[in-house]
Every structure is written in structure tokens, then in C-alpha cells.
């Protein structure tokens, strides 16, 4: 059992898989000797060498094109897109090529690849380096989307993502990189598509993802002090989606709150809300409420960024107000 930071857990999880399988190779900008701009690949270059941990030019289309072409011919590449905002410069390869080619070819090709990327705000990096793009990926058929909320989950979900025969977008909340948790000894492999119930309470169900999970948890703790006992669900994986757990936990309390970092419109929370409204309508005791970043680009200033992203305080207030109305 080791205490690892989220960023250490990335390298730890990658190393576990690279030791096991020589077809796992990594490419990205500054991931080699430099260990990644977020230090998510520290030590891998030293252990696995420059052929398996390969620095690239600033050519995101080439990075992902290379990952795709390699995946369809026998490798299991792990590509890094440094900031998830940069998916916009290579979205064609992700959304049009990697996601669709298996279906278009009637199953002739597979894409066992992982694209890791630093996601989300909180670091005062401004609108082009702080986006939460999980909904960009979720809306494209053919992509799996995994968003861990703690170091423990990082290791097991990374292993599951790398072993998965399909393309996985693996989003690492930048705000969580310094957070720590326990990682068990030995090989750790988790399951994609399994949400986790972090806390159970009868009054409402908070459904959260990534960096919003610790906030939802903290809000639930505060709410408990006020006598409101909430269930907290960590979604962990948007595709595949553990609708069973979500439907069960929302039905049990009759009230659902999503806690989303992505801007308001067409977030994953809207999808979950629509699933619950369609399939568990008669179990609902009141409106489903989405707590999201407003539909604005993220501001850079600390004071403004803190107002934009859902805070513990905002979650608490919203839940209290909604349950009392």
C-alpha cells in the first residue's frame, strides 16, 4: 500500500502496463526525458527508453494519427494530448477517424488505444487551457470516456483503459494532480463502466465526475451537518455508463443533483438527467437540478475562476434551496 499523488499514480499505472506488455508504447509532447508538463510520465523514459516513450513535435494530428495507425496494426499506444483543450486541433482524428473506422469497416479494424489528457480548470490558466471536455468525447459514438477522481482509481482505470480493445479518452483533472490516496500493492485492474457509490443517504443523490467528486463529497459532509443526508455517486466512466447504479441511486432518494465542471449546455449531466427522466420518472420526487459551470468561457483571474466552477458552497446552497422549495 503506497500513498501516491494523482500525478504519480498516472506514471505508476502506465508503468504497470508497460512492464506487462511490450506493445504498449507512449507518444506525446515533452513526455520523455522531461516527464510531461504535468509530470504524469516521470520515470517512464528512464525505465522504458526513448523508443517506447517518444517525444513528438507539436503536431497533435500526427500524434493521434500515429496512435490510430499503430493501434490498427498491432500496438497499444497511449498518446498524450497535453491539455484537453488541444483536442480541438486534432478532433478529426478522434471523432471522425478513430471513433468511426471500426463501424465503417464492419469490424475489420480495432483501436486499442488510450488518449490521456489534462482536463479542467482551477489552475488559473484561462479559457484555452482549462476546459472540461468530457462532453465533447461523450457525444461521439465509438469513444469510451473515463474520468477518475482520485489516485487509487487512476491506477486501476488506466490499466483497464489500456487493456480495453477500444479507444479510450482518459481525462485527468489537472486540479487533482497534487491530491493523494492509497494505491494497493500488486497488480491493480479496475473495470470500465462502473460507477462508485461513495456515500449513502436518503435525501438526495449527488452525481459527480472527476474534480467535482471531492467537492460533492465535501458538500455532502456539510449537508449532513445540516441534517440532509445525501448519496454521492462518482460516475468514473461516461462511456460505458453505469446507468444501473445511477438509476438505482436516484430512484432510492427521488432527487438528483449533478455536479459538473463542463459549461452548462449539453453536458454529461444533461444526458444523465434525460436518462433518469425517461426511465425513472415516476421515482422522482422533484426536479433534477444541474450544478454546472455557467455557459461561459472560463476566466483566468483566480477570483473569477472560483466563482465559475461549482464550489462546495454552491453545491450546498443549491441542494438546500431545492429540497426546501
Amino acid at each position: 500500500m503506497a500513498q501516491l499523488t494523482f500525478r504519480e499514480a498516472i506514471a505508476y499505472g502506465l508503468a504497470q502496463e508497460m512492464r506487462r506488455d511490450s506493445s504498449v508504447v507512449m507518444i506525446g509532447e515533452d513526455i520523455g526525458a522531461a516527464g510531461g508538463v504535468f509530470k504524469g510520465t516521470v520515470g517512464l523514459f528512464e525505465e522504458f527508453g526513448p523508443v517506447r516513450v517518444r517525444d513528438t513535435p507539436i503536431s497533435e494530428q500526427a500524434i493521434l494519427g500515429a496512435a490510430m495507425g499503430a493501434a490498427m496494426t498491432g500496438l497499444r499506444p497511449v498518446a498524450e494530448i497535453m491539455f484537453s483543450d488541444f483536442f480541438a486541433v486534432c478532433w478529426d482524428i478522434v471523432a471522425n477517424e478513430i471513433a468511426k473506422s471500426r463501424y465503417m469497416t464492419n469490424g475489420q479494424v480495432s483501436f486499442p488505444l488510450v488518449i490521456r489528457s489534462g482536463n479542467g480548470g482551477g489552475l488559473r490558466f484561462g479559457a484555452q487551457h482549462s476546459q472540461s471536455i468530457e462532453n465533447w468525447a461523450m457525444m461521439i459514438p465509438g469513444l469510451k470516456v473515463v474520468v477518475p477522481s482520485n489516485a487509487t482509481d487512476v491506477v486501476g482505470l488506466m490499466a483497464a483503459a489500456i487493456r480495453d480493445p477500444d479507444p479510450v479518452i482518459f481525462l485527468e483533472a489537472k486540479a487533482l494532480y497534487p491530491t493523494k490516496s492509497e494505491v494497493p500493492d500488486g497488480e491493480v485492474v479496475d473495470t470500465l463502466g462502473s460507477a462508485k457509490v461513495l456515500r449513502s443517504g436518503p435525501d438526495a443523490t449527488l452525481v459527480a465526475l472527476g474534480a467535482m467528486v471531492p467537492r460533492a463529497n465535501a458538500a455532502a459532509a456539510e449537508l449532513a451537518e445540516q441534517g440532509i443526508d445525501c448519496t454521492v455517486v462518482d460516475v468514473r466512466s461516461l462511456v460505458p455508463l453505469d446507468t444501473q447504479t445511477i438509476l438505482r441511486e436516484v430512484s432510492a432518494t427521488g432527487r438528483m443533483f449533478t455536479v459538473e465542471e463542463n459549461p452548462r449546455l449539453c453536458g454529461w449531466g444533461a444526458e444523465l438527467s434525460s436518462i433518469v427522466t425517461e426511465e425513472a420518472f415516476y421515482d422522482l420526487d422533484g426536479p433534477i437540478v444541474r450544478i454546472t459551470t455557467p455557459h461561459i468561457p472560463l476566466p483566468a483571474a483566480d477570483a473569477l475562476e472560483d466563482m465559475a466552477i461549482p464550489s462546495v458552497e454552491r453545491i450546498v446552497e443549491t441542494v438546500v434551496k431545492s429540497l426546501n422549495s
Partner: protein
Amino acid sequence: MTSVATDLSAKLELYRVQVALREFERRAHDLFLENLVKGTSHLGLGQEAVAAGFAAAMRPTDWTFATYRGHNHTLARGVPMTPVLAELMGRSNGLMAGKGGSMHLTSVEHGMMGSYAIIGAHLVIACGAAWSAQYRGTDQVAVCFFGDGTTNIGAFHEALNFAAIWKLPVVFVCENNLYMEYTRTSEITAVEHPAADRARAYGLEPIIVDGNDVDAVFDVATTAINRARAGEGPSMIEAKTYRHGGHSRADPGKYRPDEEVKAWLARDPIPMYHARLLAEGASEEQLVAIHHAVMAEVDQATEEAKAGTPPGPELLMKDVWADGGSQWRN
């Protein structure tokens, strides 16, 4: 130019392949007119020598990456006509059971690693296959075909630099047919030779070949593929050619000057090669027999394709994922 393919039987095979591509596409065109081929379709009539010459220079284990104008390249790699035609017709006996259509022909077992319909993407994807060959030490080479218009999109630049710095076993082949859809490429390109004049920007030699001369194509292809296989890195080849028809199904190609079309029709690769083979000792009967055999193949493929059923609902939700399904939830 003297060819590496000095053997007459090899040359007859190059002829046969070109004729097969030609007659297949003619038939596909007829089937459009009967509304049996659905959607869009981009014919490579006139450009057969490029596909035939390269395919002949490739090993079965090598990989082709083509565009939406990919019928020629698919057939040249040995994919049978029936599934290709059936795919164009949206039938369940199509190469991809109708799920991909004309623009996405793929047959992994023939090394045909896909036809790509969004400009530029497959250049970087071909790099990935080449990287995999290099990493696994398999001696495979990726050959990537694209058009003149494609040289102005960003992915072209990223792919060429990437391939060059990693010395990847990939051959980039620009089929310069002078047009991007309805616009003359020279009007929207800063250099005369859209691919060759950019080669040095990636530390590569510019190579231009007569894309209507299958022997010449075979020669440059052989050199470039050998170079790639020897670990000496990528090549960029610009093959000058011309499409006889419009860009796609809907296009009569009227934006092209009559004299230009006439001049290029006079340089049709198939009659030219026909004449050369006669001069080099083939008999007219041999060539006619080849043509007949091809026509029989085309006719049979037409019947077989037509006999295919429309794909049923069981195919709709299949093969999004490697488990064969499309479930995104439990």
C-alpha cells in the same frame, strides 16, 4: 525510361490490372445511372496506372491507405470485384456489408487499410502504421495515396515532418490530377508542383513521375518502397495524371477546358500501354483475351452484387466496439 518490370508477363499483368480497374469503374458508372449505386462515388478513370504500378511494387504484407477515390487502389491490391461493387450498391454482401460505402473501402486481409474521406487524415494514420512496422521490425511499408488538393491541408504538413524525423517506412504518393473538386489546384497553391515542391521542406527529394505510365510508376514505387524497407525513411512522389470524368457522381466536370481534356485523353494510360506492349512483343490476341477475361469478371461481379440483399437491422447496431456490439450503458 527502362523499367524494372522487364518481364513481359509481369507487364501483361500490369495491363490486366489497369483494364480491370477501368472496366470496373465504367460498370460502376453505369450502375449509378441505373440508380443501383447509391450515395456518392468518386471514380479514378484515367488514373489507373498509379494504382496498378504501386500495387505491383508492394508485397502482400504492405499497406495501402487511400482516399474516397479508392476503387482503383482497392482492386489493385487484389480485393475481388464482387464485394467492392456490392459495397457501392449498399448490399449485405458488400466489402463492409454496406456500412462504409464507396468512400471507405477497406480490406485488411489484402493490406487495404482503408479509404479515408476527410482530406488529410490518412497521411498521419499511415505514419502510425509505418511506426508500428518500424517498432515491431516487420519490414512492412505503408503507401499513402492522396490528391493534389490535399497538399494544402494541415495534416499533410504534420505527416511529412513526422515521417521524416522518425524515418518511417511510408511512401506518400500525390496523384496530381490538377483539380481539387471543381477548382484548379494551381489557383490555390503557392507552388507549381504541390507535393514535389514541398519535399525539401521535410528534407526529402522531390520526385515527379508520369502517372499515366505504369512502368515509370512501378520504377519509382519500387525505389521508394525499397528505400522505406531499408530503413532509409519516407519518400514523397508526385504522379502527374488526370481524371477522365468529374470529381464525383454529381459533377460533369465542365470547368475543365476542352483542349485540356482532349490532350489528357490522348495520354490515356491504357491505350498507351497497349501500344507499348504490342511494340514489346505482345500480341493483339493476348490483349484482347485479357480484356475479355476482365469483362467476364465485371459481368459476374455485377450479377453477384445485384443478388446481394439489403443489410438487415442486425447489422445496424453491430461493431461499434470490439466486442461486436454498440452498448454504451449497462
